[in-house]
């Protein structure tokens, strides 16, 4: 998952990295005593790039300025995401800005280390200047990364080389032990004495490694509301994303690719799907609980008026699935909307019989299912 900047900095700080003093604010009514020393930067906490250009990162020197910016930023939307919190941190001024990142190189099966003596918001424009951005992919091991940092910092001003080399050593250790997919620090503030501060942090963690990453598990527990998808996957074993809070069609689907494609096709047809779901029928193991949970989440969509079940069962026994689904409906009495089921796979007839007990029409053609969906939307 993509960590919000605040949490990324908490992770770095927990590992001994210096970051600007900061606190997370959810509301314009906050405890002023909790603020770090001013002047401040107000930074919207959303998982999207381009915050600065969208006016979601602003400086403030007085308390009233801070409040008025907070009022403007909290609740603003950017790339479909609503800002629910801001990190308020002490401004860092007058220091040089470098760049350092680690990312996976899936082709070379290594870690790509990239650094630049001049970082900051215009890092992309440096790409055309020869030698400004230096990088190489090496084996995913600390000694290899540290040695590479030494090579890449050669020829830089001594304080910059010292800071980038020290930062590379520390951050490489964090990247490897926390099993990150991306760790980018930009700007990396460098003091004249060669010490450094992580001015920003972009971190992507590996959900699949959570079982051996206790710090991240604790973060998910503490900040469940900020990471609903990852939290849900950890707790329920399935992937669920609300793609449109105003969506009208709830989706009960299995398979990430097919679920994504269905959403694409529904949107292209002018329809409004509410959620993405990979329920993983293979993981139900005769227990309807996961389906009950999913129906509850979908029922919470205020504008959802019809449920489309789309299961292409490679291996799953559709009869068994339909039986569980029928049980789940029985356990979810608040779920009253019409249901259209499109099923393909083994034991389709058994599935039809189970679903007929709840007056659910089963079709095998997706186009036909959409005709039913449209009819229900027109009638409600």
């Amino acid at each position: 998952m993509f960590l919000l900047e605040h949490d990324a900095k908490e992770l770095l700080a927990a590992n001994g990295v210096a970051v600007p003093a900061g606190t997370l604010i959810h509301d314009t009514e906050f405890d002023a005593a909790a603020l770090p020393p001013g002047p401040w930067m107000i930074k919207a906490q959303i998982a999207a790039g381009g915050r600065g250009r969208a006016g979601l990162i602003r400086p403030a020197t007085t308390g009233s300025e801070l409040k008025s910016h907070l009022r403007a930023i909290l609740g603003a939307t950017h790339k479909g995401m609503t800002v629910r919190a801001c990190r308020i941190e002490s401004q860092v001024t007058g220091l040089e800005e470098a760049y350092l990142s680690f990312m996976l190189n899936p082709v070379a099966a290594g870690v790509r280390l990239t650094l630049a003596a001049r970082g900051g918001v215009n890092i992309e424009s440096l790409a055309t200047t020869p030698g400004a951005i230096r990088g190489a992919t090496v084996a995913p091991q600390l000694p290899a990364l540290v040695a590479q940092a030494m090579i890449l910092t050669a020829g830089l001003a001594p304080h910059l080389a010292q800071a980038l080399h020290a930062a590379a050593r520390e951050l490489a250790g964090i990247f490897l032990t926390t099993e990150l997919s991306l760790l980018e620090v930009n700007p990396l503030f460098v003091r004249p004495d060669g010490s450094w501060v992580a001015g920003d942090a972009k971190i992507v963690t590996d959900d699949n490694a959570l079982f051996r990453q206790p710090w991240l598990v604790a973060l998910l527990e503490r900040r469940a509301a900020a990471y609903p998808e990852a939290r849900r996957k950890q707790q329920h074993g399935c992937d669920y994303v609300v793609v449109d809070p105003n969506g009208e069609i709830g989706l009960l689907t299995t398979g990430a690719g097919l679920s994504m494609m269905l959403i694409d096709e529904l949107r292209a047809a002018g329809l409004k799907p509410y959620n993405f779901l990979d329920v993983r029928t293979g993981g139900l193991r005769g227990d309807a609980t996961r389906l009950v949970d999913v129906l509850g989440w979908i029922a919470a969509g205020s504008r959802v008026r019809v449920l489309l079940v789309n299961i292409f069962a490679g291996i799953t026994d559709l009869g068994e699935f339909a039986q569980l689904l029928t049980e789940a409906f029985a356990r979810t009495p608040q779920f009253k909307m019409p249901i259209v089921a499109r099923l393909v796979g083994t034991r389709l007839e058994a599935a039809r019989e189970f679903l007929a007990t709840r007056n659910i029409t089963v079709v095998t053609d997706l186009g036909a299912a959409l005709v039913h969906v449209r009819r229900h939307l027109a009638n409600t």
């Binding site: 995401m81 899936p106 699949n208 690719g257 494609m261």
Partner: protein, 293 residues
């Protein structure tokens, strides 16, 4: 060169054969025609599963059976170790359907298999198949019809749906490889381009990709660099997915403008690939090229 071609004489073992999935899929693969010669399980006292001999160590299974391919049905946390066992035992083709492999484990496994010149397909893959001949993994029979279309996919279910619809339109598949939806994987789309170019049974190629990463872009570059001469089609899922959220597959994450749909479509089209906006359009388009006359 990566070569996923198998036949009815390819000797296959199943690591994790005594587990629920291992037992079931060993049986289903055998029923399809795959020559399953053995299984591996640390569980003591199990001599066989449905008549397939079970060995305590991968090395013993390979020594006793002469297996060259292995399907690994073990937990995500055990996957890296099981791949290391298979490579050490001399297995040349490894298929790992398990979902949820930690990405740093996958990085290590990819380094290992490449250095050992072993083909690793996965993780998080439904597997691969030569329709009508044999399969390694989960691919459902309803979607497998012999034919001339090479098929590669990140997603399992979307490829099942595509294969099923194409089969209904008289289009069958030559060699089907599910590369899986993980960020770091054993075999990438681009790495299969030389194989499909040389494969005489493959007359055209369908790639089923999705948002996130740069595999589709890399695939397009490989087509151009290697002057791939057969028709190529693509379906890319996730064009309306939100940024910054992982859509089920670990690899399906768009952030900061990377991995988006529009860029993938543009580079694929520039490489001469026909990119379809829907399953229906795909079925019709491929049917026109490969379907019955």
């Amino acid at each position: 060169m990566i070569n996923p071609r198998i036949d009815r004489d390819t000797r296959v073992i199943v690591q994790g054969i005594t587990g629920r999935a291992g037992r079931m899929h060993a049986r289903m693969m055998r029923e399809y025609g795959t020559l399953i010669v053995g299984g591996v399980s640390p569980q003591a006292g199990v001599a066989d599963v449905d008549g397939v001999p079970v060995f305590a160590a991968c090395r013993d299974a390979v020594a006793a059976t002469g297996a060259t391919a292995s399907v690994l049905l073990v937990g995500a946390g055990q996957l890296r170790g099981a791949i290391e066992d298979a490579v050490a035992a001399g297995i040349k083709l490894i298929v790992t359907p398990t979902e949820g492999m930690p990405v740093h484990d996958a990085l290590a496994a990819r380094r290992l298999t490449h250095e050992a010149n072993v083909t690793w397909i996965g993780a998080s893959t439904p597997g691969m198949a030569i329709p009508g001949v044999a399969k390694l993994g989960f691919l459902p029979e309803a979607s497998l019809t012999p034919g001339a279309l090479g098929l590669m996919s990140k997603s399992g279910t979307l490829s099942y749906e595509a294969g099923y619809r194409l089969a209904q339109h008289g289009v069958g598949t030559s060699v089907w490889v599910g590369v899986g939806g993980d960020t770091v994987k054993g075999t990438r789309f681009a790495e299969l381009v030389p194989f499909y170019a040389a494969d005489a049974q493959t007359k055209a190629l369908l790639v089923i990709g999705e948002i996130g990463g740069n595999e589709e872009e890399e695939f397009a570059a490989a087509l151009t660099a290697q002057h791939f001469a057969k028709p190529v089609f693509a379906l890319i899922a996730g064009r309306s997915s939100p940024e910054g959220v992982t859509m089920g597959h670990a690899g399906a994450l768009v952030h900061g403008g990377h991995g988006g749909y529009a860029a993938k479509k543009a580079v694929l089209e520039a490489a001469g690939v026909a990119v379809f906006v829907s399953l229906d359009a795909m079925t019709l388009g491929i049917g026109r090229t490969l379907g019955p006359r």
